[in-house]
């Protein structure tokens, strides 16, 4: 064991980790080490998370009372646009892939680094440049189009900084394309000896599927944003119906990216949760192969459901029927995953540690968010619920309840590996429970509000909705406190936390075989893999008994 010294970078004499290789600012800003780039990303997305969160706070404060007394309608528009743009493109999309994914993917497959380390660094710089454009748009006065930038409002009428924001989103798209290309090439070409495709941890599969979606969907967003710029800047009539343009075309192009983008946010979360549940239940993942195929199928069908955002846009009713059907279909692989996580828990030795609490919270919130998604996939129900708080609640259950819970779970689970320090388990568990409570307190009332007919994106509302809005806003205070808690105890652990052993959770996976924190090139000797992922017990201890013993003999 290491001596109990304090300070972030203090280590035993002679010990070398990725944190001690160069301690100047320059050595961080020009580093091509995937672990350091992950930290750079983590710091930047945390900043954006709190900017986006501040906007949400003002929104919820305004909605405490039915009258629009805190901000004007116009400011309110700018606030929810800012909240959406920042949270979607500058927090959720890069959250798990660019931080945990960047840090863990090479470690999990036994590689020294990602396939293109310099491209990896470039993706962070693109992210920062894009962030600066978007922040500039915000400081100059904001954008009032909503994060969806619907035409013709965004191109012809809006008197706000649409160009700057659209250009920022255009650039941040290239940052995710770079990450995607890097991850796909890494998984294909840098797996260590013995790491076959069917031995890959599910987190790696999740990164792979996510990267596919990033690479294939983001260019279309880039193109849609460029068209907005062209129409605003050069006046080329692309979406302007007076000159023969087609405003609905924008919605098609936008959702062709933005629906798959939901899977960019949720697939990594599924990967994280699979790792945590298997380890903390001490079980092999139930139906590993089905988990893999489910993720790939979700990534694929995710491209074919965008029209369900446009049921009330006047698109062909036949198109709507197809999109509705496919939206039901995509629920099947999602349900397979939920059942398999539950199946993994069966006969497990469950530890209710902080990461596990987050992961179990994810499963519950994802199920609720997913099932309400089926309400919205059904055309007659959607016509009633379109543009109400029901939709807001639904996607927050997936994107905040789901993706952010999983991000926090993963952050706690791998924190000892990333920093070499242990956090306070008591604080972490209470934060996990606090967040779960705060989240439901905030967003469950919004389902009821939406069902009762309260439309989204208004700063005033009829007084009969007040009771639910007060509940939601109070919940938001609880939730806000919950998000600040990890900031404090995790930061505290950086300086005063106990030294982490190499494998504090007794988890399988190559990332736990190297030291905490890992050395610069991850492994001193290239590892060799001899078993499947999640070998937490022998096959004949599994609930299926005999069959799985045979599987073992075949292998």
């Amino acid at each position: 064991m290491r001596s109990d010294d304090t300070g972030l970078l203090a280590r035993e004499p002679g010990e070398r980790t990725y944190l001690t290789e160069g301690t100047t600012l320059r050595s961080w800003l020009l580093s091509t080490d995937h672990k350091r780039i992950a930290i750079l990303y983590a710091v930047s997305i945390t900043m954006f998370f709190f900017i986006g969160g501040a906007a949400a706070t003002v929104i919820r404060l305004e909605l405490f009372t039915p009258k629009g007394d805190l901000v004007t309608a116009d400011t309110y528009n700018r606030l929810f646009t800012l909240h959406g743009v920042i949270m979607v493109w500058f927090f959720l999309v890069p959250s798990i892939p660019a931080t945990l994914g960047n840090f863990l993917l090479p470690l999990m497959i036994g590689a020294k680094d990602v396939a293109f380390p310099r491209l990896n660094l470039m993706s962070w710089y693109l992210y920062v440049i894009a962030g600066l454009f978007t922040l500039a748009a915000l400081l100059l006065g904001g954008v009032d189009t909503g994060w969806t930038f619907y035409t013709p409002f965004s191109t012809l009428y809006s008197n706000s900084y649409v160009l700057l924001a659209a250009f920022g989103i255009f650039v941040v798209g290239f940052s995710s394309i770079a990450t995607g290309i890097n991850f796909i090439a890494t998984v294909h070409l840098l797996r260590t000896k013995g790491m076959t495709w069917m031995r890959l941890p599910l987190f790696c599969w999740a990164m792979y599927a996510t990267s596919m979606v990033m690479v294939l969907a983001t260019p279309v967003l880039a193109m849609a944003m460029l068209l907005i710029c062209a129409e605003r800047l050069l006046g080329l009539p692309i979406f302007d119906p007076r000159a023969g343009g087609d405003p609905l075309l924008f919605q098609h192009l936008f959702w062709f990216y933005s629906h798959p983008a939901v899977y960019i946010m949720i697939l990594p979360a599924m990967g994280v949760v699979s790792e945590i549940i298997a380890c903390e239940a001490r079980r092999r993942v139930f139906g590993y192969q089905f988990m893999v195929y489910a993720m790939l199928v979700i990534a694929m069908i995710g491209f074919l459901v965008w029209g369900h955002h446009m049921f009330v846009s006047g698109q062909s009713p036949f198109a709507s029927m197809i999109f509705s059907f496919l939206s039901f279909v995509i629920a099947v692989p999602s349900a397979i995953k939920v059942f398999n996580w539950t199946g993994t828990l069966y006969r497990g030795t469950i530890r209710f540690s902080a990461p596990m609490l987050y992961a179990l919270g994810f499963v519950g919130l994802f199920t609720l968010g997913g099932l309400t998604g089926l309400f919205l996939a059904s055309i007659p129900v959607d016509v009633h619920l379109s543009d109400t708080y029901f939709v807001v609640a639904h996607f927050h259950y997936i994107m905040v309840g789901g993706a952010v819970s999983a991000f926090f779970g993963g952050l706690h689970f791998w924190w000892p590996k990333i920093t070499g320090r242990l956090y306070s388990e008591t604080f972490a568990r209470s934060a996990a429970l606090w967040l779960f409570f705060g989240f439901n307190f905030t967003f469950f009332p919004q389902f009821i509000l939406g069902y009762l007919g309260m439309p989204r994106r208004y700063h005033e509302y009829p007084p009969e909705f007040q009771v639910w809005n007060v509940m939601s806003s109070t919940g938001a205070v609880v939730l806000g406190v919950g998000y600040l808690m990890p900031l404090f105890y995790l930061t505290y652990s950086l300086f005063h936390g106990e030294r982490a052993p190499d494998n504090p959770h007794q988890a399988t996976g190559l990332e736990w075989t190297t030291s905490s924190p890992p050395p610069k090139h991850n492994f001193l000797v290239a590892p060799v893999v001899e078993t499947e992922a999640y070998a937490y017990h022998d096959w004949d201890e599994a609930p299926g008994g005999a069959d799985e013993t045979m599987q073992d003999e075949r292998a």
């Binding site: 193109m223 009539p237 023969g244 075309l249």
Partner: protein, 211 residues
């Protein structure tokens, strides 16, 4: 191809063939994103042309076929010269490689110059859709010219980036490391070909549609 020079290995690769595989694979992934990017624009073109075919053709009739064709020839030749250069680098024929690279740079720059003259001609005929004396009223013609300006400018940006990458090859040759870094030349050539192929699709779509 066993006579390729021993390549410079970069992190995290330990074997030349793996690095080669990764670079080509990575670039093809990038080309896939480019195809989706341009695919969106071709979708735009298809929608516009289907909704008003006659107006669209009337607009397309004004496109400058002569300059467009000259540009097509220039770009096709540049693809050939860059391929020759790339093969020459692998065979360590430095002189041939240098000539090929310089020829590619010249042809690419000539393309941009011709494009500039073409833009001037178009503007003198008021063919920008927001101009007050734009000669057409038909929706299809307006959309044709919107598409024309947008796509040719985006293509020119791609070509300029390509020129920068080709110029980098010349610089690598100057400092003498181009031989062992033939993989860089290979992926640069792949990108250049994509830019050319996009133009090869644009030539009939822009210049032949109205004839």
């Amino acid at each position: 191809m066993s006579s390729r020079p021993a390549p410079t290995l970069v992190e995290p690769f330990e074997a030349a063939d793996r690095q080669h595989e990764a670079m080509v694979f990575g670039l093809w992934l990038f080309l896939a994103t480019e195809i989706l990017f341009f695919g969106g624009f071709f979708f735009l073109y298809a929608v516009a042309r289907l909704q008003d075919p006659t107006g669209f053709a009337a607009g397309g009739h004004k496109a400058n076929l002569l300059l467009g064709t000259i540009n097509t020839l220039l770009l096709m030749s540049s693809s050939a010269t860059l391929t020759i250069a790339e093969r020459a680098i692998q065979a360590e024929w430095r002189r041939a490689a240098r000539i090929g690279i310089v020829a590619t740079l010249a042809l690419g720059t000539a393309f941009l110059a011709v494009k500039g003259f073409e833009y001037r001609e178009d503007l003198s005929e008021h063919l920008f859709p927001t101009m007050p004396d734009f000669p057409f009223k038909a929706v299809g013609a307006i959309r044709f010219w919107s598409f024309y300006w947008l796509i040719t400018m985006i293509h020119a940006v791609h070509l300029t980036i390509g020129l920068a990458f080709v110029a980098r090859l010349l610089w690598l040759d100057r400092i003498g490391t181009l031989g062992p870094r033939w993989m860089v030349a290979e992926v640069t050539t792949l990108y250049w070909h994509l830019v050319d192929i996009v133009w090869l699709l644009l030539w009939p779509l822009l210049y032949l549609v109205g004839r």
